[in-house]
């Protein structure tokens, strides 16, 4: 059994290791390693389209993860004090937001937004005083909202789980000692759920940064890093893509390790 497990881990990591190895290849070809070089990292970072896509992805991931962390934490706190019915409906919707395949989320958001724009844009044009009315279109906003949906549900669940394991006695003790609800929240509840919020933010960021399929549908004229990489992969395998892939892999791994570490920190010992 140990041999089998070792083989599975090799299976999981060898292909990735190969991509990383060949990103340092001096030659252009994938079959032979002709020497160590970081030239492909230079090529990748000198490519303006790639840098633009990278900046877009960073902006979208940061914004959607921040919004998700805020709304998700608020929702988790709110859910702790609603009736069992409301809670059940909310849990079902959150579960749906996480489980529904990305391709369906992408499509339905695309359809709904395009339909909304065909109503709103003529209306804006009719009430706008001059000839340059704002035109709503797919782009940053739609990607952020669609990514945020999954991320918010994720944050709500992670923070909700942590809230559930919170020691109620501390909250009661705090109010018995005449702390205002706000003080109790700031000095008792928030410090305890903070690791969960941070972990949720990091996982949300990783999700948004890595997502291809949702953005593919709702990006409009914008390009995110995965969309750019997908387009170049279809044109063929190049060491430049290996360099980008390595950067993205390393960044994701760091974020996930950080998130896991946050989740394990100060976990109530029960």
């Amino acid at each position: 059994m140990r041999t089998f497990v070792i083989a599975v881990f090799a299976f999981l990591y060898l292909p990735i290791a190969l991509v990383v190895l060949f990103s340092f290849n001096a030659g252009r070809h994938a079959s032979e390693f002709t020497g160590f070089s970081v030239q492909w990292y230079g090529t990748a970072l000198a490519n303006p389209f790639l840098v633009e896509a990278l900046k877009n992805s960073l902006f979208i991931a940061t914004t959607s993860a921040l919004l998700a962390a805020l709304c998700g934490t608020a929702a988790a706190l709110g859910l702790a004090r609603v009736g069992i019915r409301t809670r059940a409906v909310f849990d079902a919707l959150l579960g749906a937001a996480i489980v529904v395949p990305g391709v369906v989320i992408g499509i339905s958001t695309l359809v709904a937004l395009v339909q909304l724009f065909t109503v709103v844009n003529p209306f804006l044009a009719s009430i706008w005083p001059d000839d340059q009315p704002p035109r709503l279109a797919l782009g940053y906003g739609s990607i952020i909202a669609a990514h945020g949906l999954f991320s918010m549900a994720l944050v709500t669940m992670i923070v909700g789980t942590r809230l559930g394991s919170l020691d109620r006695n501390l909250v009661e003790a705090s109010s018995d000692l005449y702390a205002t609800p706000l003080t109790t929240f700031r000095s008792i509840v928030l410090p305890q759920i903070m690791p969960a919020i941070v972990a949720g933010f990091l996982l949300a960021f990783t999700f948004s940064f890595d997502d291809f399929i949702i953005a593919f549908f709702v990006a409009g004229a914008q390009t995110t890093l995965p969309i750019y990489v997908f387009a170049s992969i279809r044109r063929g395998v190049t060491p430049e893509i290996n360099a980008i892939a390595t950067i993205v892999l390393v960044a994701s791994v760091l974020l996930v390790v950080l998130a896991q570490w946050q989740l394990r920190q100060r976990k109530p010992s029960n």
Binding site: V5, F22, A30, L93, F230, I233, I241, V256
Partner: protein, 274 residues
């Protein structure tokens, strides 16, 4: 009030869009593409036009999920019950990391391995010329197992880790062979984890697009490919919506069936991942 933003988000970007595609799916295609209001089930009647995509998905998704399960179970078992304590967390982290790493990049890695300059080049070196690996159903299946293995391992691990070890000892003390202990105690009690993993992987595979596109090379079409085509290229939104609604219905059936099976066999409903 705390629930306000989240509710608005869920309604505007989950509930309303879902209603929108439900409405579209009973509509008609406008002459120039897009949507024309109608009430007809013609789009649903037309589903067999994409029979190949449905067939490929409905065959490769269960096979892929099953293959994942066969590889994942021993790994989860080892992690939960056999691994030395100090190794457990490290090994678990090694499973979680790929789970959160870009599927695009991980699938790309296999394009590299299976492509002309990867394994086929090595095989040619030892005398097997012209072996074609990429752009085959086998490559897609391999990509599926690779991509979704972590998602299968995690819930099984969680259910095995919670297992009361005294039951295993009791079973052995009562004279059960290791095999029958495994079958009637371990396997049975870990079934909720197995069903959670299986249904999650199945559902995500139903909507999979990247793996068949990159490793199937346009030869192995999934429902996801049909949807991308209908929405972004041929712009037949009502037909695409009907396919998407069908996809969601199949997913719901899979989830309910998985819940039923694990409830009936072990009494527990599901395993939470977080």
């Amino acid at each position: 009030m705390l629930l306000g933003p989240a509710t608005a988000w869920l309604v505007v970007f989950l509930v309303l869009p879902f209603i929108a595609i439900a409405v579209f799916s009973v509509g008609e295609r406008a002459p120039e593409g897009g949507y024309q209001a109608a009430f007809t089930f013609a789009q649903y009647a037309n589903l067999p036009a994409r029979a190949t995509a449905f067939w490929n998905t409905m065959v490769l998704a269960p096979i892929g999920a099953l293959a994942c399960l066969l590889v994942a179970y021993p790994v989860a078992y080892y992690l939960a019950l056999r691994a030395p304590q100090r190794w457990r967390l490290i090994l678990l982290a090694l499973v979680v990391i790929p789970f959160w790493t870009s599927l695009l990049m991980r699938t790309y890695a296999w394009m590299y391995v299976l492509g002309g300059r990867g394994i086929p080049a090595l095989l040619a070196y030892i005398g097997f010329e012209d072996v074609r690996l990429i752009n085959t159903p086998g490559a897609v299946l391999l990509g599926i197992v690779y991509g979704y293995l972590p998602l299968m391992i995690l819930p099984i691990y969680v259910s095995l880790e919670r297992l009361d070890r005294r039951l295993l000892e009791a079973s052995a003390d009562l004279g059960a062979t290791p095999l029958s202990t495994f079958l009637s105690v371990t396997l049975k009690l870990s079934l909720p984890g197995v069903m959670t993993g299986f249904s999650l992987v199945m559902i995500l595979l139903l909507g999979e697009y990247l793996i068949p596109t990159l490793l199937g090379g346009g030869k192995v079409f999934f429902i996801g490919n049909a949807l991308v085509d209908l929405f972004l290229q041929s712009r037949n939104w009502p037909f695409g919506s009907a396919i998407a609604i069908t996809l969601v219905l199949v997913s719901v059936v899979v989830l309910i069936a998985a819940n039923r099976i694990s409830t009936r066999v072990s009494g527990a409903r599901r395993v939470d991942l977080i």
